[in-house]
């Protein structure tokens, strides 16, 4: 399974060295706090500078989406491991906002319901190796992404 090929997010998790932390997303300062948390988790997992920047940027997009469109939520950071000593980070961003009406459209570049550039969700998918989105109108949105250490 090469990075980019994988689609399943529930990768095998090794119990050894498994750590997980959950951070609230309620206001602007939380956006900064979550970025810092993801960066330190990425450094600890052994990502190089490019990998760190990409996963932190992905987190920044998802967390901001949850804050602006979902009315706040949580970010869960999990250090994960797989066969052959492969290591990575899994980020789960959940909100209980209005949900996304048309997921395909939301993943298309240039799509925006807000004032942004409209690259957020589609761009985030390109920054990570695995991307899954679970949403339903009125129930909220959960986005789970995984990036492996290359």
């Amino acid at each position: 399974m090469r990075p980019g090929e994988a689609s399943a997010v529930d990768a095998p998790v090794s119990p050894v060295g498994f750590t997980e932390s959950t951070h609230p997303v309620r206001d602007e300062p939380d956006l900064l706090a979550t970025r810092h948390a993801v960066r330190s988790a990425a450094v600890a997992a052994g990502f190089d500078l490019v990998g760190q920047t990409m996963i932190v940027t992905a987190a920044s997009e998802l967390v901001r989406n949850a804050y602006i469109h979902g009315g706040g939520g949580t970010l869960t950071i999990s250090a994960i491991g797989a066969a052959h000593g492969r290591r990575g980070l899994r980020l789960t961003v959940a909100d209980s906002g209005p949900g996304i009406q048309d997921v395909e459209a939301a993943l298309t570049d240039g799509f925006s319901t807000g004032a942004g550039l409209g690259h957020g969700l589609g761009g985030t998918r390109r920054l990570v190796d695995e991307f899954a989105i679970d949403t339903e109108a009125g129930r909220g949105t959960t986005v789970t992404v995984v990036r492996w250490v290359t």
């Binding site: 920047t53 940027t57 920054l127």
Partner: protein, 295 residues
């Protein structure tokens, strides 16, 4: 529900607070000083503050408000307690020591009451009343302490916003904004205001925004950068972005953000060189003036 007993206890308490206020004041200030951590406040300040709280509590008891509500509803008492707490928050006293300040008054009052009351029954009712009165004060102390700290944080946040967005003159006709940290909408507004005003004041043809100190460039940050560049161009100046590191460059392309309409450079030095080249070509007057001043 002012029963006769209740009135008697209240009278006793008011009397003790009035007749022995100097003693209570001394004991309370001493108790606070012993608990340390309030050294930043100074003895005189501590005394005048304590005297204010004691007098306000006494007046509050005299109004006949329910004991538990005196601190909340008697405005002078409330103000005195809030002031005590906020002053400690500003002086950097920790929350425990601040809460202990009001608790120390409880001990002090009970000691003084014990000395001046012979009747055990009256003492017991008075103790309950003191507890009710000062538990409310303790709760208010804590709430206003947190509020005081939050006020400090808000002030610092505003100060930091201004500190971190200076517009510097790099060269004749070249302005630069070295950005540190993140670029949210509030910062963008500040940067844009500062930069546009400086461009007008300096009649600068080129501005450089340096993002070496911005760790994360996501779509929102990119959007804000594009907005700023557009605004600068509307004023007839050119705007470069420098400090694009390898990791940032790769992330921006993966995100699908198109910055190709903007002149970007890896370092501030490169951007300055480009700016000077542009000035030499477009503003030979400025260039010759520069040579003259160099000579």
């Amino acid at each position: 529900m002012a029963t006769e007993d209740d009135l008697k206890v209240r009278d006793l308490l008011v009397r003790v607070l009035r007749e022995h206020d100097a003693e209570i004041l001394d004991l309370w200030v001493r108790a606070q000083s012993e608990r340390a951590a309030v050294t930043a406040l100074g003895e005189r300040e501590l005394r005048s503050e304590a005297a204010g709280v004691i007098a306000a509590l006494r007046e509050g008891l005299e109004t006949g408000l329910p004991v538990g509500d005196v601190v909340e509803r008697h405005a002078p008492a409330r103000e005195a307690v809030v002031r005590l707490s906020v002053r400690r928050a500003r002086a950097g006293v920790d929350p425990t020591a601040t809460a202990l300040a009001t608790l120390a008054l409880k001990d002090t009052l009970l000691d003084v009451l014990r000395e001046h009351t012979d009747e055990p029954g009256a003492l017991f009712s008075a103790a309950i009343t003191v507890n009710r009165l000062l538990d409310a004060a303790g709760a208010l102390t804590f709430a206003s302490y947190v509020e005081g700290r939050e006020e400090i944080i808000r002030t610092q946040h505003r100060q930091m916003l201004e500190l971190s967005t200076p517009v510097v003159r790099l060269w004749r006709g070249v302005l630069a904004v070295p950005l540190i940290g993140t670029l949210d909408s509030a910062r963008t507004q500040l940067v844009m205001n500062g930069l546009l005003e400086a461009i007008q004041a300096d009649e600068a043809p080129v501005a450089i925004i340096d993002i070496t100190g911005v760790p994360t460039v996501d779509t929102v940050v990119a959007h804000h950068l594009l907005q700023t560049v557009t605004a600068v161009r509307l004023m007839g100046a050119e705007c470069f972005i420098s400090g694009i590191r390898p990791a940032i460059a790769q992330t921006i392309t993966q995100l699908g953000i198109d910055l190709s309409t903007i002149t970007t450079r890896a370092t501030l030095a490169d951007a300055l060189a480009e700016a000077v080249r542009l000035l030499d070509a477009d503003f030979p007057d400025m260039a010759s003036e520069r040579v003259r001043s160099a000579l």
